[in-house]
Symmetry: C3
Subunit: 469 residues, 3 copies
Amino acid sequence: MIALTDQDLLFPPEANSRSLARALYAGVKDLPIVSPHGHTDPRWYALNEPFPDPAQLLIVPDHYIFRMLFSQGVRLEELGVPALDGAPVETDGRAIWRRFAEHYYLFRGTPTRLWLDHVLEHLFGIEAPLDASTADRHYDAIAAQLSQDDYRPRALFERFNIEVIATTEGALDDLKWHRMIRDSGWKGRVVTAYRPDAVVDPDFEGFAANLDRLGEITGCHTGNWAGYLEAHRQRRAYFREFGATSTDHGHPTAETANLSGAAAEELFNRIRRGSEDERERRLFRAQMLTEMAKMSLDDGLVLQIHPGSWRNHSPSIFQRFGRYKGFDIPTKTDYVTALKPLLDAVGLERDLTIILFTLDETSYARELAPLAGVYPALKLGPAWWFHDSPEGMRRFREMTTETAGFYNTVGFNDDTRAFPSIPARHDVARRVDCAFLARLVAEHRLREEEAHELAAELAYTLAKKAYRL
Amino acid sequence: MIALTDQDLLFPPEANSRSLARALYAGVKDLPIVSPHGHTDPRWYALNEPFPDPAQLLIVPDHYIFRMLFSQGVRLEELGVPALDGAPVETDGRAIWRRFAEHYYLFRGTPTRLWLDHVLEHLFGIEAPLDASTADRHYDAIAAQLSQDDYRPRALFERFNIEVIATTEGALDDLKWHRMIRDSGWKGRVVTAYRPDAVVDPDFEGFAANLDRLGEITGCHTGNWAGYLEAHRQRRAYFREFGATSTDHGHPTAETANLSGAAAEELFNRIRRGSEDERERRLFRAQMLTEMAKMSLDDGLVLQIHPGSWRNHSPSIFQRFGRYKGFDIPTKTDYVTALKPLLDAVGLERDLTIILFTLDETSYARELAPLAGVYPALKLGPAWWFHDSPEGMRRFREMTTETAGFYNTVGFNDDTRAFPSIPARHDVARRVDCAFLARLVAEHRLREEEAHELAAELAYTLAKKAYRL
Amino acid sequence: MIALTDQDLLFPPEANSRSLARALYAGVKDLPIVSPHGHTDPRWYALNEPFPDPAQLLIVPDHYIFRMLFSQGVRLEELGVPALDGAPVETDGRAIWRRFAEHYYLFRGTPTRLWLDHVLEHLFGIEAPLDASTADRHYDAIAAQLSQDDYRPRALFERFNIEVIATTEGALDDLKWHRMIRDSGWKGRVVTAYRPDAVVDPDFEGFAANLDRLGEITGCHTGNWAGYLEAHRQRRAYFREFGATSTDHGHPTAETANLSGAAAEELFNRIRRGSEDERERRLFRAQMLTEMAKMSLDDGLVLQIHPGSWRNHSPSIFQRFGRYKGFDIPTKTDYVTALKPLLDAVGLERDLTIILFTLDETSYARELAPLAGVYPALKLGPAWWFHDSPEGMRRFREMTTETAGFYNTVGFNDDTRAFPSIPARHDVARRVDCAFLARLVAEHRLREEEAHELAAELAYTLAKKAYRL
């Protein structure tokens, strides 16, 4: 019987290259996982309760999965995705799982397929491919295991060999789960990251109320610019108490600004009064990236910019099901013009780290590698989201390495809330990087001992260094 | 003697991958041809007359060929391309053929070379490479065969194992050739497709007269919006009588609009009076894509959008030789913003099929795959025109599969008016897809039995399903 | 001991393809170097003085090198890069060299690494990898050789087997070094190229004074349009006396214009008076590309357009260190719209050669190949600057060949002022092209004898033909 995931998965077929890739991979496959950017729920680690049924764990929260089924005519309700108005949706885990299994062939050629097969085999010991005929059997096997103690979050965390994982919390979060983890005495290292979109983006739902709340939490007067900035500083300090080493910013574009203090203050006042001027609202977001970078100069937090997603492209789906329903679509993203004000302000700082991500691969070779290859403050985040895939990672390396080198990149981010898939995602990334390095060695562009060093840097060291973990 | 086309053409050189590719290809090479989108002349099948001389068949009408020779200094007149003003051009087929043969080396590395070598070998039994020294010999061999009955259109149609082919006719076409085919009792399945550019695009030559004519044909009052829409409905119904399962739209951009009925009516009235306002004319084209999609909801026709070609880039060539002279140049094309009005209106419909094409490969991974990977109404057309080539098809698969999967694509379109090259074009597509699948199997990303299933889907089944043929 | 550069460098690992690549490379590796576009200093060939110390030769002037070190926190001063205000910088060649050697690992995976290893091994006979431990030893070995007569510029020129090399001089240059070379009786062929940016671009420093100076040199009245154009004609004629066969234009965009004589004259008058209108200044640059093309019709000079670099992106670095400090960043570049006025004017001319370069790879398949594949006046320059690299050159071939063919490209440009690296750069280009051709043969897309012919065309013949050398 063929295992679901072959030991040579993703390695080049040519014998010499394959053997090089195997050797490189052997040196990194057991390195601890450093997960510096992701969206797992800290509550899991805090409460350490068993995970729910297979469908609730693996299908319902995974937008990669339900968007594909939806594209082929399966309704979100049939997959148990909750409707905002409380309209009834499928709640039978087994029914959801069967529906998924029948459509699993749709994922051929996708990373979801690789991740899920890896989870099935390595986490749940399953060897037969998932389809309609095996759906029930696999469901039962997974459900049985999930009820065991060694499948609880902390046990999995340890089994996964996670050295450190970052979650992401909004600026208004009280970090109570993080506090509970810290107070529990458990040794697992779970840190937070500061994601202030809700108090930085005037287009965020409830922006004005969010700023009021920010004032309450911090005791700062968020009705004026100085107090507002101070409130950010306090929250950043608070997040740092819970291990944060980074901030994260999900703006529609990479636009930045560097207004004078007076102009920024005046802009804040207009925004605070609820400006309806789209340009002002954009300018405020742009200015806040530079403000965050300046605060990073003081407190050492690494700044992550994740631009270029058109969120909630379908208003109908947004209205019925809310955010993160697979309808976030990448857009053309400019960096060279957009980042200039920020870079003019702080781009030459050698103690600052700004990590750039993109959903627009055309920027890799044209803009991002040339920028990160000269500005000391800039580093390149890994292939992101739709590009967190074998072909996407390969293109990332092929289009950035020659100009930015490997050392202006920051290793891998799993960026996921699908906790059980974390080892699979890191495994895919390690394999793709080993395959890429093997090609360079096979083409005599790199010596083998250098490739071994690089394999470990890409799998482990660069992430720790770049994120200061 | 080496054959012009090797049995391993386009397969990966590594032994294991090659053997996988061979096995996959063996399973699909003899599948019938489904050609759901193309531009062959229905008159050929209707009259079933012998094709003219080799040059008139293979060189003069093929813009891939004469644009390359033109780029290297050969004048269009020397290639027999007719001038609009009736100025004399080369009419001696043999002279044209010799000129082509002398320059055939220019096509090294191009798909035209693969297609033509395939035609020479498989259709005409030629084994020696075409160059100046073999030009006459090959010309004579081809000419002799073209005069035989088994080289007439219907015989070739059958020999090519074409299960169904779609032609494309304008909205004003009387479909008389299609009627003749239907009435002839011949079993070959030739269907039409509805291409209404001339009555939808205010910039089309003779737009106002075309609308008058549309009114005459249908008996509808095309002086008002309701009558104009009704005329479309009638023409669509008429085209469906002749087998049409699709419409086709060649707009400069993918812009769509979804105006209220009143606003659309008012816009139509201004356009009908000959509006000179470029924005209005664009808006009308944009609105009509949405109108067509709404009609498709009723009548089931598949909607194809082919945007992003700057037609007739050289005014001098356009003036002297007219359209389709190799001067249509791709442009940057946006989909995420452009399609939003259409998608807001009908994008979630599960019974609607809209097939998107692009000449801007940057949209594959960034826009098209994410859109088609979630909107039920959207599917991705194959690599188009300049990208209908081995590297182009490979990039298409590499950049769309991981996000949209295989099942949101629609198989192959030959999109050609070069009838003799149809088997060659399908053969290249099948080989490239088998090579891609072989790579996935060799890298253990797919099981071999899945690849066999997919090879048949990509070569045959998906086209039938997507186009409802 | 492993040599620094393997004999199979950059060849595909699969045995059959590798053997094909070797055979192709064997046929071209010893062809003379034709370097039709570059920036070596003609003074070197004129005076034939020994090159300075290893750091001054190999590190200090190479922006590929110091930008990478700067991105990782090394200051430009530490690398001996001169500050404009004369502030002290490192002058000890050995100290600079050690700093570089310690950071040499940063270049893993970059072309700089390939070029430098090639220079170390093939020019200086070094076999041990460069790092901190070998830095001094290698420094001494290189320094000792540089002091020998057979490492002077002319000896290297001959050893490198350079058949002809072009330098680039500004329109105001007196070409005295070229005169000295010519008068010296040395047989090395060094030609100039006409680069008029300083008298064509209103944003160039000292533009008005430059035009005055242009008038003085030529005796033309550069206060009016006719005199200004005549001055260009005279300078072009003068440059042709010193072997120039080309002009070169480094505009921010590819924008062109084709104003009437009267409108152009009026525009010139406003520009000459120092127009502050950015649109006018852009339009003037655009118009001048067309004027240059028209002059090329008369005097036969090949026109090169190098658009799309945002020069001196960091104002702080520009102020302290000046131009060419690694802060030139590529930008999105349009060709289809931008070139239309120029192409409408002269694009169909068969005796004109315009060579297009890009830093925006998205234009290869979408715009440049379709344009060059039909307009007789257009040819495609090779992968440029950040894309002059193995992956960059491979993408260039993969994205242009199928539409433009090989024969609408112009061979390789080394584009360098790093004289010792010229053989390395041509060697990398020849290897990458041989590898690409080997793949086409291995996939049966090309016959082996055709690949041999093409390998020589790409390595040697096309450059001579396209540049009329």
